[in-house]
Amino acid sequence: MNLVPLKLLTIVAESLLERRLVEEIKRLGAKGYTIVPARGEGSRGMRSVDWEGQNIRLETIVSEEVALKILERLQEAYFPHYAVIAYVENVFVVRGEKYV
């Protein structure tokens, strides 16, 4: 089994940002992503009903370098004004070469 160690970057953000976030991560080098609709609560209160907007949970498997670039972009352009949380994990990916 050929397992490549890579980074799994997860972003939870208000769903309004979906289109923009997808563009950003692709531009910064992500080769793919998976999105799941979510609801949640954080420092900006509950996010669940439609008017306040739901959240999305976006996952992307990337190299460490790309992960850091995306995180920097998030910190600079999204964290100040939008409901966003982001974290990174180590994962082992089948056919991982595809994703870098």
Partner: protein, 318 residues
């Protein structure tokens, strides 16, 4: 019918009662909840149905009849953000962004308030002009644009927000429905009437049930934000409402039509505007504008506003 009787009639309609049932359910911490897909499905249905009916009516309305009301409505749409903006700055003392966000909401229109007004006016035996949905579409967009311009000097996200407003689902569905109604006319209407016309007051009842739940979950925010926001939301609704009734009559609308235009003018958006504002003015505080629009102005218009604008229209124009 006297004023009290009218109020009673409005209050005891299934729609308004469903709104209160929704509030009660949330306050009692019931587990009742609409799936997101149901909420979306209902709003697609309602927006398209309004547009479609308006289009069919428009198909047999001469341009001359609709021109003046359309121009006056446009003027209304361009003007309304200003009182909202300045009142927010002076009376609420909020930041420029917050004021612009509020102006976008009070510059646009609530489709559900429009429907409730239409239903009320018909229930009391008046009729509104068939082309009213065209006016809704005209009123929805310009106010948001003006307000966003008030909020931002630099461009930046502005063009993106404009695109968001113009291609937003409420505009696409309402204008698209209108066009389809216009093109397919009575023949088209006959085919889809039992889906888009007959059941729609019932669908609206379900929608208001959901809206009541959302509004109730905003009540606690209201307590924090304070009493001034209530005054703001009610005062602005009354001012815009009176203006709408007056301009409606000036433009040659019937009493029913002027009452409905008044309600439209008095209403605040909670579909198109929040989406646009969130993108163009991310620094603005959603608690402020959502609470004012959903938990103050909407119920006020639903219960007291609509009968008031109607009484006014009758008094001046009847």
């Amino acid at each position: 019918m006297d004023a009290l009787e009218l109020l009673r009639l409005n209050f005891l309609s299934p729609m308004v009662l469903a709104y209160f049932l929704g509030m009660a359910a949330r306050l009692l911490k019931s587990d009742l909840a609409f799936p997101e897909a149901l909420y979306t499905a209902i709003s697609i249905y309602l927006l398209f149905a309004i547009g479609f009916k308006g289009g069919v009516e428009l198909a047999h309305t001469p341009l001359a009849v609709v021109l003046l009301p359309a121009l006056f409505t446009l003027a209304l749409g361009l003007f309304r953000p200003f009182p909202a903006y300045f009142l927010a700055r002076r009376f609420l003392g909020v930041s420029r962004q917050d004021a612009a966000a509020l102006a976008a909401h009070y510059g646009s229109v609530s489709a559900v308030t429009f429907l409730a007004a239409l239903t009320f006016v018909q229930a009391v035996g008046h009729t509104a002009e068939g082309f009213m949905p065209t006016l809704v579409a005209l009123l929805e967009v310009p106010g948001i644009v003006v307000a966003l311009l008030l909020g931002k000097r630099q461009s930046g996200r502005l063009s993106e927000a404009l695109h968001e407003v113009l291609t937003g689902k409420s505009v696409v569905l309402m204008l698209g429905g209108l066009l389809i109604g216009l093109l397919s006319g009575e023949a088209g209407m006959e085919r889809v009437k039992s889906f888009f016309v007959d059941p729609y007051q019932g669908v609206l009842t379900l929608f208001l049930l959901d809206l009541g739940m959302v509004a109730a979950s905003r009540l606690s925010v209201l307590r924090q934000v304070g009493f001034r926001l209530v005054l703001f939301g009610v005062g602005l609704a009354l001012f815009h409402g009176v203006l709408g009734v007056y301009l409606g009559l000036k433009a040659g609308l019937s009493v029913g039509g002027a009452a409905v235009l008044g309600a439209m003018s008095a209403s605040a958006s909670y579909i198109a505007a929040p989406a646009a504002v969130r993108i163009a003015l991310p620094e603005a505080n959603p608690s402020l504008y959502l609470t004012a629009s959903l938990a103050v102005t909407f119920p006020f218009n639903l219960i007291l506003g609509i009968p008031i604008y109607h009484a006014l229209a009758k008094a001046i124009g009847g």
